[in-house]
């Protein structure tokens, strides 16, 4: 817009200089159409913008995915605006799907104008405060701008996979009834031990086979007590561990996995905390219930990978956030420098479960095949398996997750009743 005026001004001054240099009055006539053009433009220029705006933000889900529809209705309470450019803030990460966030239109006196556009969004917290309106003359020479209040907000929660029960056997539990075996006798479903009968034991629990072998003695069957546990979810949001391929981030799979675990653990009544470990640390104190799930969902919706160098700092944050009894579930593609941190965490008494979205299979799935690439992939796989093996030796439970397969399938293989927890595939 403004460049038009500047361009006309430059031409006018060039013609004046040329006319003076050549002492040719005829050249001055050429300035007349340009001056008329400017004069007409400034004559029809608006003096003020009196608009009201209402914004409606709706989430729409279809086969192609989730998209956010935005409708802004502008009502003109002032004089007619003949050339209005409306610009709405859009999010650089998102690719605009339909229409535009920037539209040119005219709004008559007491008239209404509607601006509608949409963009695809898998997850995120989107909010708008104002909408920028630039009104100008029909030629776009004189422009006035105003930010009109038009607030709106929408939260697109990350998707999750409904996971089946995981047969975890943590060393420490919280003393409240739950579904996790507590490694001590009590009320439960799994057999724990047989002990001598104490006064007050239920007669239903008498172990008749043992009594038959030991006459004049009574024995009671004891079951393994089931309690809840404290879980610390740590999502690795460091940029250096991320893989971007064909516009798809491995991080998105990590977010999905974190959300799935949060839903599973909270559904089973456990106490769950979250730390999004990137440049901006986003700790969420451990808590129970649906509200905590909503908090986790909010935190994950706006999580983005950013640069941070090492998991080293995790040691300091962990102490403040999770108790030593907590089971730490780390969702990370794994970096070579992280092994030391896992060692420290193990030394401080934590049980660790590493869910590692496999970056190699993620890249290999879509990469063009070739002899060199095959060799490179093979070498990378060997290196990764060596790292995972080291972690296993430290006592870290590892799930190497090929993101193109279901997470449920991956954890079912590792934590089935048969493997009794703590394996690696």
């Amino acid at each position: 817009m403004k460049y038009k005026t500047a361009f006309i001004a430059i031409i006018i001054y060039c013609l004046i200089v040329f006319a003076l240099l050549t002492r040719n009055g005829g050249l001055m006539v050429l300035i007349v159409p340009l001056l008329v053009y400017l004069a007409v433009g400034s004559f029809f220029a608006p003096t003020e913008i009196r608009l009201r705006a209402n914004r409606y933000v709706v989430k729409k889900a279809d086969e192609s995915g989730i998209s956010v529809l935005i409708n802004v209705t502008l009502t003109n309470d002032g004089k007619p605006l003949e050339n209005v450019l409306i610009r709405d803030a859009h999010f650089p990460k998102t690719e605009l799907a339909t229409a535009m966030h920037e539209q040119r239109l005219a709004i008559p006196e007491r008239g209404e104008a509607k601006v509608a556009y949409s963009f695809p969004a898998n997850r995120g917290h989107f909010f708008w405060d104002t909408i920028r309106v630039s009104a100008s003359d029909p030629f776009g020479l004189v422009e006035i701008q105003k930010d009109i209040q038009a607030s709106g907000e929408i939260l697109i929660e990350p998707e999750f996979e409904k996971l089946g029960h995981m047969h975890l056997k943590p060393k420490n539990t919280l003393h409240s009834a739950g579904l996790v075996p507590a490694r001590r006798g009590g009320s439960g479903l799994n057999f724990w031990t047989v002990r001598e009968y104490h006064l007050g034991d239920s007669l239903r629990l008498l172990n008749w086979k043992t009594i038959a072998r030991h006459p004049r003695q009574l024995y009671t069957t004891e079951f393994e007590h089931e309690e809840i546990m404290e879980i610390g979810l740590i999502l690795d949001a460091r940029l250096q561990t991320e893989s971007l391929f064909d516009g798809e981030l491995l991080f998105e799979h990590g977010v999905r996995a974190t959300m799935s675990f949060a839903e599973l653990f909270l559904r089973e009544g456990n106490r769950v905390g979250l730390l999004v470990f990137g440049q901006d640390m986003k700790p969420l104190q451990p808590d129970y219930g649906k509200r905590q799930l909503h908090r986790i969902s909010n935190a994950l919706a706006s999580a983005t990978p950013k640069s941070n160098f090492s998991l080293m700092y995790l040691e300091y944050i962990r102490k403040r956030l999770f108790s030593n009894r907590a089971l730490i579930v780390v969702i990370s593609p794994l970096d070579l420098k992280d092994l030391q941190t896992y060692k420290q965490l193990r030394a401080s008494g934590h049980q660790i479960l590493l869910i590692s979205p496999d970056p190699i299979s993620f890249m290999a799935q879509r990469a063009p095949s070739g002899a060199v690439l095959d060799l490179a992939l093979r070498a990378s796989r060997i290196e990764r398996y060596a790292q995972l093996k080291q972690l296993l030796q430290m006592g870290v439970m590892v799930v190497d997750w090929n993101v193109h397969r279901s997470l449920n399938e991956a954890i079912r293989t590792v934590f089935s009743k048969r493997t009794n927890g703590g394996g690696y595939v």
Binding site: K2, Y3, K4, T5, A6, F7, A9, I11, I12, Y13, C14, L15, I16, F18, A19, L20, T22, R23, N24, G25, G26, L27, V29, L30, V32, P33, L34, L35, V36, Y37, L38, V40, G41, S42, F44, A45, P80, E82, N83, A99, M100, Q103, R104, L105, A106, I107, P108, A113, K114, V115, D137, P138, F139, G140, L141, V142
Partner: protein, 171 residues
């Protein structure tokens, strides 16, 4: 929407051809037949624009046209034709920018008011420009250079003040 944009496109091409015709006629009346080279040059430019559209910025073309117009008046070609051609070139440039600003705008169909106001303003510019330039070209005043210089300074200062008033946010 496309119908309206097509109308604008035809109007722009019509103005462009008219401006080229006026310019060529103005030069030919003065016996400068070399201006006919403008046609192969235009053809070459069209071919270049096909492959590299960023070269063909309408403002650059309008700047080039203004240069040819100024040279034409300086070498004493027919001033009426040259000036009328310049007015049509200005209109063509404006129509091109307007058309480009609206291309792909989904609100365009509901926006006859914008189109009408633009055409109204453009008509005013054409009529006033034709009138003032025709009247201006019929007067011949011989003033000393000093007076012309002072007048130019006054006009320049006035234009600068008007700019400052209108576009003070830009300064």
């Amino acid at each position: 929407m496309f119908e309206n944009l097509r109308k604008y496109r035809y109007a722009r091409i019509f103005c462009l051809l008219l401006s080229a015709g006026f310019l060529v006629a103005g030069y030919l009346f003065a016996g400068v037949w070399q201006i006919l080279l403008i046609f192969p040059a235009a053809l070459l430019l069209w071919v270049i624009c096909k492959f590299q559209p960023e070269v063909c910025d309408p403002s650059v073309l309008f700047g080039g046209y203004t240069f040819l117009t100024a040279v034409g008046i300086w070498i004493r070609c027919e001033p009426h034709l040259i000036v009328y051609g310049f007015i049509m070139a200005l209109v063509s440039w404006e129509l091109h920018l307007f058309n480009r600003g609206l291309a792909g705008n989904p609100q365009y169909t509901d926006n006859l008011l914008l189109e009408k106001s633009h055409l109204r303003s453009l008509s005013i510019v054409i009529i006033l420009s034709f009138l003032i330039t025709t009247v201006g070209l019929s007067f011949h005043l011989d003033l000393p250079f000093g007076i012309i210089f002072v007048l130019v300074l006054v006009v320049g200062f006035a234009v600068e003040r008007v700019y400052f008033y209108l576009f003070r946010e830009n300064f």
